[in-house]
């Protein structure tokens, strides 16, 4: 009964989505404020019914209702409660319901926090979000209904959640990622709404910026969590694989990064307007493309959702309508837009342009690498090829090095025109960075690597310039200590984001070049030495978890005969699904991880054991979190609150008038 209620709510939500897409749009067309005003309540209703639907599915998981096919496939009565809840998004149908719910959440948020927009603009934006939601709900109802029953013959117990997904990282990774993916719909909706008005002014950039920053920050958290999860859960110590699905999340992130910078320039200087609109369209397009890649089975991947051709065709048709339609609208409406300000090639505008071109090129390279197997197959009459990390590293790394150089000088360069002396004086922080990093690598590294010095020095150069900029801002003030805290939140956000990139870069490069690992056979009593650590295999024992039994090894780690820690890697056997999982054990610390994973038993009491020493690996995810924190920080900027209040007053005076010019704000 509850399950049918969930299904029914979803159908009602579809009706509301149709209303949201149509009524306010008709209101805009016929200039009827009453219809336009309905957008807010329709958004709220849409969210409520999507939430109800989601809660019903959660209830089915909670009560072990195995008559629901989706529950039977992805849960089990012995599954711990937190995993029963995360199993809701453990496979295709439920995860897409979550995706749609998040879409409803963003729509509701826009309707609440955009009260300051003109009535006309708000109606347009919400109608576009509603139209997108129609597509998502139809996809659920027609091809991927999580409420399908297995009646009349239903299983006594469920098949259990994929053990890989029974993990904290997977409880939070998909929701964060979807917040990012779907959040990109908001700047998209603002961009399309602005295009439909035909007035492409800089105001839309100001409205879009906080939304874009938040969506992008969520995406950053999602990708970071995914990388962290892959590292400790997949059992082979990698943190990025250039897998098709990883690329699917990385491409919108790269475009999103270009977008947040381009939006800043459009807002502050009124240039790049048509380009920024295009980026906003691209960012959401890549989110949808990601959904297509993951859920259509067009590319094989470690993430492979269960797929069927119907779903692939639906998403492809949806892509054609949404992206094709937007790009066509763009081509028609953007003609004749002029920028208001010029700038010199030494300006900060140019720096951001360089940033954008590099990021878009990098995205193109990743896209090409991801789709190349398909292109090749189509062109060569069926020959197959696969593109691996060597390609991605070869094209991506040089682009990123150029980007870091732009990043080092850009935040301290000036709008319009920067004195040439500023650039020529950069040799000082560059040299200082190289000397510092070179000395550290020389004295502390196990071997000397020129690449590590180069890359880490670039990261340090970025940080040095940020610190110099910040200190010069403080030094100009009379009250130095209070002025440390009185910069704008946007500025702090930028500092955090850029420092985060530097931290992540140091982590990536150092880990790649200084990781040491050994795969070997170990029996109780055996000892292996790696990077100055002594790993002693003490014993094997059986342990029992809630829904699995495991072989657990006890491995003692010593330095110069002194015990540092004891690691307990496991090989788990999940009873319901008859799945075997490797559970690595890790001794984390700021400067190095010790990572031990059990392979297979190799006769007698011996096991294949994998031991890693991974320096600076934590920095990758710590950097990722700093970047995200930077994104979240920017929305606390007082500017946005002040703007909102100003708009509210202006709306009162112009309420109901379709011609209220947003430029007034």
């Amino acid at each position: 009964m509850i399950v049918e209620l969930g299904h029914f709510s979803l159908i009602l939500a579809l009706g509301l989505a149709f209303s949201l897409a149509l009524l306010p749009a008709v209101g805009v067309y016929q200039r009827q404020p009453r219809l336009m005003q309905m957008a807010g309540s329709l958004s709220a209703g849409l969210f409520v019914f999507l939430l109800l639907s989601f809660v019903c599915l959660a209830y089915a998981f909670w009560t072990d209702d195995f008559s629901v096919a989706y529950v039977a496939r992805n849960s089990n009565s012995a599954l711990p409660l937190q995993y029963k809840m995360s199993a809701i998004w453990g496979a295709h149908e439920g995860s897409f319901l979550l995706w749609t719910l998040i879409m409803g959440g963003w729509t509701l948020a826009v309707s609440i926090f955009s009260r300051g927009l003109t009535l006309d603009m708000r109606a347009r934006v919400l109608a576009i979000l509603g139209a997108l939601t129609i597509g998502f709900i139809l996809f659920l109802l027609l091809t991927s209904n999580p409420f399908d029953r297995t009646l009349p013959v239903f299983p006594a117990d469920g098949a259990d959640l994929n053990p890989l997904l029974q993990d904290f990282g997977l409880i939070v990774h998909p929701p964060m990622l979807y917040m990012g993916y779907v959040g990109m719909a908001v700047p998209f909706a603002f961009a399309i709404a602005t295009l439909t008005t035909g007035r492409l002014d800089a105001a839309w950039a100001r409205w879009s910026r906080p939304w874009t920053n938040v969506a992008w920050a969520f995406l950053t958290v999602g990708i970071t969590l995914g990388s962290w999860w892959a590292y400790y859960e997949l059992g082979w110590g990698g943190w990025w694989f250039w897998d098709a699905v990883e690329n699917a999340s990385f491409m919108p992130w790269l475009i999103g990064t270009a977008l947040i910078h381009s939006l800043a320039v459009t807002e502050k200087r009124g240039v790049f307007k048509s380009w920024t609109v295009l980026l906003a369209i691209f960012a959401f397009s890549f989110s949808l493309l990601g959904a297509f890649i993951v859920r259509s089975g067009v590319l094989t991947s470690v993430h492979a959702f269960a797929v069927d051709p119907e779903r692939g065709m639906f998403i492809l048709a949806f892509l054609v309508v949404v992206i094709g339609g937007s790009l066509l609208l763009y081509a028609i409406k953007v003609s004749g837009i002029k920028s208001e300000a010029g700038f010199d090639w030494t300006s900060r505008e140019t720096m951001v342009l360089v940033n954008n071109l590099l990021l878009v090129t990098a995205t193109g390279a990743v896209l090409l690498g991801t789709l190349y197997p398909l292109i090749y197959e189509a062109l060569t009459d069926g020959k197959k090829i696969s593109v691996g990390p060597p390609y991605f590293n070869a094209v991506f790394v040089p682009l990123m090095l150029l980007l870091f150089a732009a990043m080092a000088v850009s935040p301290t360069s000036r709008w319009k025109k920067t004195p040439i002396a500023f650039f020529t004086q950069q040799w000082r922080p560059m040299l200082a960075s190289v000397l510092i990093v070179g000395a550290l690598v020389f004295f502390l590294g196990s071997s000397f690597s020129g690449v590590v010095v180069l890359v880490d020095a670039m990261a340090l150069w970025i940080v040095i310039n940020l610190v110099r900029d910040f200190s010069s801002k403080v030094a100009n003030k009379v009250q130095k200590i209070p002025s440390l805290f009185r910069q704008s939140m946007s500025y702090y956000g930028m500092l955090l984001g850029h420092v985060g990139i530097a931290v992540a870069v140091i982590g990536v490069c150092t880990t790649v070049y200084y990781t040491q690992e050994k795969d070997l056979r170990m029996a109780p009593g055996d000892v292996v030495n790696l990077a100055g650590y002594e790993f002693r295999f003490n014993e094997m024992r059986k342990v029992k978890g809630p829904n699995y039994i495991a072989d657990q090894a006890e491995i003692e780690v010593l330095v110069d005969g002194v015990r540092q820690t004891v690691l307990y890697p496991e090989k788990r056997f999940y009873e319901a699904s008859r799945n075997v999982m490797t559970e690595a054990d890790i001794d984390p610390s700021l400067f190095r991880d010790l990572y031990v994973a059990l392979g297979e038993p190799i006769g007698g009491d011996a096991w294949a054991v994998r031991v890693h020493y991974k320096p600076f690996v934590r920095w990758i995810w710590f950097g990722g979190l700093l970047i995200a924190l930077g994104g979240f920080t920017t929305i606390l900027d007082r500017r946005y609150r002040a703007v909102k209040q100003a708009r509210q007053t202006s709306v009162v005076s112009s309420s109901g008038s379709n011609s209220a010019s947003s430029a007034a704000i």
Partner: protein, 209 residues
């Protein structure tokens, strides 16, 4: 990118004369690129591969592996386990629609042809794979769990399904890409299998003699 250029060169005369009525052609570039992309995706999506894939591995030993068995996770199977008889090795996955299409024929082959079939469950989730086999029946002697796709890489597999014909010494003699239908069996696989079986019986009589 070209659009950014427009903004940079704000003073260029061609921009200032453009009116709302005429669409600037360079603005259509993103749309054109997108149309190309959609075509690639549509083709890739509908690619039903009837072509035989020339493999570097023909007449080579089947690559070495040591992986779990799908239905008995405690058991490790290796390349030695698929030697000894002329056999088919089928690469499949639950995410692969064509695997379902060829499934009835694989069932028939295992029932009627007296030929051992071995499955490689490729880049898949084992839970789903087991359910899939329960629902559609299991034609395979055993299934090799290649959830990380490593054996697939060694075999040069890109998609599923693919079917390899092995001789009694574990040497790959033929490779078929795409679903095994009744017609594929009759026209291509069966002749190869018959040839290998006759060779095998000859060599064994030679050895016995």
């Amino acid at each position: 990118m070209s659009d950014a250029d427009h903004d940079v060169r704000t003073d260029s005369p061609d921009r200032s004369v453009t009116t709302n009525d005429s669409v600037n052609k360079s603005l259509l570039i993103p749309l054109a690129v997108f149309v190309g992309l959609v075509m690639i995706l549509a083709v890739g999506f509908n690619l039903e591969d009837p072509h035989f894939l020339p493999s570097e591995l023909i007449d080579q030993q089947f690559p070495e592996f040591s992986l779990n068995e799908l239905n008995a996770p405690d058991r490790i199977v290796t390349h030695k386990d698929i030697k000894g008889q002329v056999a088919l090795v089928n690469v499949w996955a639950t995410w692969c629609p064509n695997c379902l299409i060829e499934h009835p024929e694989l069932m028939r082959i295992s029932r009627e042809e007296g030929l051992p079939l071995y499955g490689i469950n490729y880049n898949d989730e084992s839970v789903k794979a087991r359910q899939w086999l329960v629902r559609h029946n299991n034609p395979f002697q055993f299934n090799i769990v290649d959830d990380q796709g490593k054996l697939g890489i060694d075999l040069g597999v890109y998609g599923a399904p693919e079917t390899f014909v092995l001789d009694a010494n574990g040497v790959i003699r033929y490779r078929h890409v795409g679903p095994v239908t009744r017609r594929v069996w009759e026209e291509t696989l069966r002749p190869v299998v018959d040839l290998l079986l006759s060779q095998a019986s000859q060599s064994s009589t030679v050895m016995e003699g």
